[in-house]
Symmetry: C2
């Protein structure tokens, strides 16, 4: 499931640079496979618990496995959505710099996923914590892309559909980062038996900033002639 | 957890009609409570499985409980985000009709949540299936609001921050609807022992429509003067 989720993000990166409808089909098929594997995993865990009667510690590990599988499924779902959105806006020359930022963002998310899966395989709590901390970088990139997109939208409202797509694509990557962070927390909990208690990278820093971004709230506060009131 | 999630959506509805920052605090506190309850529930289920050694059928029910708890946590998280977004755009007179549509959408989501929790309490598969089918209504409302918002954005780009907030708020409600649908599927599975196999209301109909909305892709295809290419 982890490899497939990583591959899904690879397709998302590809979709930013080449307009190939097959990528959308592959991403969709791959997601369905991950979903099926998730269901099978749940069945296997259930049967294993029923037959082997694990102790409380082993049970916690099994619960962790199911939670991580859930995060991987969500990552693949978000990756699939990203592919479709990216395919819709590729070939727009004037968007090159934005697409580059977006590519850097999803490449970072893919690296985060790879690292957290390595951490999982090696029971490496430090590696998991590094992923957990680094999620703030993705949140920061997300903020930058959002603000940049806002300026495009104001300058070029006729292309708003494209910008909304990119905005939702960036938001998907931010959420992919959150799911990688969730996996890191699960690894920590499984290995140490307690939740991560140090300062947590806030999950929705970005969305709360977006509610009233200082530069935009000033725009919003201005009486706008266009909208009928 | 179900009651708290319902209450969270109640605050979301309130936040659309009265600008009260306390609603944001309440919604945040309530979400933290739901999250804590979710962790406690997971611990209780783990201890229960370890001590009582349930058979495979009972185990499946317990897994279902955990999955439903996960959906309730997500609903509360989305409701919390909605409250903040709604608080940022209340008092905008010219947005009355949009706010009314959004309120109708979140009221429908709240009703869906109530119904699916009733279905859960009464082991009522028919009620769960009704919720599962009705999710299409929320998706349809979501599409309408998106398209309406697009026209506002094009007419009034200076207020784009407000429209993006409303767009993300509507998207949150669509996802709340998806989580209610997930719960319905879990009820079905727990009661019948097989997954729902009839035609499924597609989860991301709306997002795939949004990728290239017919009316907007034609806008996008036009050479736009404003963006530097």
């Amino acid at each position: 499931m982890g490899s497939l989720a990583e591959q899904e993000l690879g397709w998302a990166i590809d979709a930013l640079v080449r307009h190939d409808a097959d990528l959308g089909e592959q991403a969709a098929a791959s997601y369905m496979t991950i979903k099926r594997l998730g269901r099978e995993l749940q069945d296997e865990v259930t049967v294993m618990i029923a037959n082997r009667r694990p102790n409380a510690d082993d049970l916690r590990q099994l619960m962790t496995v199911l939670k991580i599988a859930g995060d991987l499924e969500r990552i693949a779902d978000l990756g699939r959505g990203f592919v479709w959105r990216a395919l819709a806006v590729v070939d727009q020359d004037h968007l090159k710099s934005l697409m580059t930022s977006l590519r850097f963002m999803i490449e970072t998310a893919q690296a985060q996923l790879k690292d957290v899966l390595d951490g999982l395989a090696r029971h490496d709590v430090e590696k998991a914590l590094a992923v957990w901390r680094k999620d703030q970088d993705i949140d920061a990139m997300h903020n930058s892309i959002f603000r940049e997109l806002f300026t495009y939208m104001m300058e070029d409202p006729r292309n708003i559909g494209i910008y909304i797509n990119l905005l939702l694509a960036a938001k998907s990557v931010e959420r992919i980062g959150d799911h990688a962070t969730n996996i890191a927390e699960q690894i920590y909990f499984a290995e140490r038996g307690v939740p991560v208690t140090t300062d947590r990278p806030k999950r929705d820093d970005t969305s709360s900033i977006l509610v009233l971004p200082p530069n935009l709230s000033s725009f919003a506060a201005e009486p706008a002639g266009a909208a009928g009131s």
